[in-house]
């Protein structure tokens, strides 16, 4: 889910000018491609409505997803507020574990997930809110032996790289 909303100044009659956009992610069961449906927002009544159904590119071109919130108030006191909120979780399936190789992992078999992450900072003083990217680092998530889990990424305010690395063995293997 990705959404941006807030106040964009005022109308001519002084009433607040709302804006908003929400994207719902849906995956194609065949290709795994991500599709988005867009919701818009009425600028006067702040009412959300269904906008359109076409694919829409979100964020940077690497297709990264994040768990983050951003709030920009460019001019203190002025009626301009810009909020971004993005959230996602993963369904991970661990099964058909192959215990082989020169050094097969000893039981209990534990599965781990790892991804490169990237911090992203918005400069609210820029009119286009251009993001600047920080250093990348990795993080290991414990998954357990086997089964299906819904994983919520533990670190917020980061963008996660896909596809993530999933392996069976020790946490220090990768």
């Amino acid at each position: 889910m990705w959404a941006a909303y807030g106040l964009y100044g005022t109308h001519d009659d002084g009433s607040p000018y709302f804006f908003g956009m929400k994207l719902i992610v849906r995956r194609d069961p065949v290709t795994g491609n991500v599709h988005y449906r867009t919701s818009g927002r009425d600028s006067r009544t702040a009412e959300w409505y269904f906008q359109h159904d076409d694919p829409f590119v979100v964020g940077d071109t690497k297709g990264r997803m994040a768990r983050m919130t951003t709030t920009c108030v460019p001019t203190p006191g002025a009626p301009y507020v810009y909020n971004i909120i993005e959230n996602f979780s993963l369904t991970v399936w661990t099964a058909s574990i192959i215990k082989s190789g020169y050094f097969p992992p000893a039981a209990p078999y534990e599965s781990y997930l790892k991804s490169d992450v990237e911090s992203e900072k918005y400069n609210c003083d820029d009119t286009d809110y251009t993001a600047s990217f920080g250093t990348a680092r990795s993080h290991t998530i414990y998954l357990g032996d086997s089964g299906i889990q819904n994983v919520t990424m533990p670190i917020v305010q980061r963008k996660y790289a896909f596809p993530m690395l999933q392996w069976v063995g020790k946490w220090s293997d990768y």
Binding site: K22, D28, P29, V30, D53, D54, T69, A95, I148
Partner: protein, 345 residues
């Protein structure tokens, strides 16, 4: 004329050798010379359908020309009029094609003015493909005369066959349900290891509980064993797809409700609050236009149409109460990717 020196002869020879060696390697390449390695072109479209295209004439002996509707269907899907196909295999293929046509027809009806890039249409067409591949894989499991690895080519042929005249009529003729009892509209194919493993192992407890609910509901309403055919698989995919739509709608409504609350209090957005427990106000947030819930209503209707047709055609279940009872069950979509995908050959 000045005589060429030894040094010049050396350079002339080197240049000639550099030209001639690749030429010789190309000329006497054993892989190229052997007639055994000439690639055979894959024939996706049949000579019969090619002959129907304008401007192409294919001379074909009349002995192999398909004569019956069953032959025409087998030729359209498999690329050959295979006389070795049994009646059950033909019936399963006909059902698969009709199911695919129903998915496309339903999407055309419910998304009449939608753009061709519409994500809903794309996802539903993906469903049509997955269901066809599931049907073909099931048919190959039940009838050994079918090639288990031909699902992809059969789907390509089926897409073309949807526009060919006469093929759908042949499929309807072939797939007409006979006088079988409800739930036994298909030849029984016991579950393979792949399905059994996915149904029993590695699932969270609540998912297993939901599967048990679906299985109990099927056993109470269908006289035959739901696990002997792909009836249970169809029911699970329908329940999971419907649950996914429900979850998407609840997630949207919760977000709109939270935004209204944050803005009223002048708060910043908060991930913890967004993922917090559902509150009564989240279900009907005040500032949502009717077009938001309408799209979810439409998605549920499309799923119900697609699977209601499958339950009637494939399993002989035409009871409206069956779909109502199945629609009340929820199955978390955590296992969608296992059950919806047929095993890779």
């Amino acid at each position: 004329m000045k005589q060429a020196t030894n040094k010049q002869w050396f350079w002339i020879g080197l240049v000639l050798a550099l030209l001639l060696i690749p030429l010789a390697m190309w000329r006497w390449n054993p892989e190229r010379a052997s007639p055994d390695n000439v690639p055979v072109p894959v024939r996706l479209r049949t000579p019969q359908s090619a002959a129907q295209a304008p401007g192409i004439s294919v001379s074909e002996p009349s002995s192999v020309r398909p004569e019956t509707a069953q032959d025409r269907l087998a030729e359209a899907l498999l690329g050959q009029s295979d006389t070795a196909l049994g009646p059950e295999a033909r019936r399963l293929l006909g059902q698969a094609l009709l199911s695919l046509e129903n998915v496309h027809g339903t999407v055309r009806r419910f998304y009449a003015g939608a753009s061709p890039r519409s994500s809903s249409v794309t996802v539903f067409h993906g469903y049509g493909r997955v269901l066809f591949m599931n049907d073909y894989t099931y048919a190959a499991r039940a009838c050994p005369e079918l090639d288990p690895q031909g699902a992809g080519i059969a789907y390509t042929n089926a897409l073309a066959a949807l526009d060919e005249p006469g093929v759908l009529e042949a499929a309807r003729e072939t797939a007409t349900p006979s006088d079988l009892p409800a739930g036994a509209g298909r030849l029984a194919a016991p579950m393979t290891d792949m399905y059994t493993k996915a149904f029993t192992g590695g699932l969270p407890a609540e998912t297993t509980q939901c599967y048990s609910n679906v299985l109990a509901m099927l056993r109470s309403s269908v006289p035959t064993d739901p696990l002997s055919t792909d009836l249970f698989n169809d029911a699970i995919i329908y329940a999971m797809s419907k649950t996914e739509v429900d979850e998407m709608e609840a997630e949207s409504m919760r977000f709109f409700s939270r935004v209204a609350r944050w803005e009223a209090k002048g708060q910043r957005p908060s991930l913890n609050e967004l993922e917090g427990p559902v509150q009564p106000a989240d279900l009907t947030p005040p500032n949502v236009h009717a077009s938001i819930p309408e799209q979810y209503v439409r998605m549920r209707a499309v799923y119900r149409e697609i699977f209601g047709y499958r339950f009637a055609l494939n399993h002989g279940i035409t009871d409206v109460g069956f779909m109502d009872a199945l629609s009340t069950l929820t199955v978390p979509a955590t296992a969608l990717w296992i059950h919806i995908q047929p095993p890779e050959p």
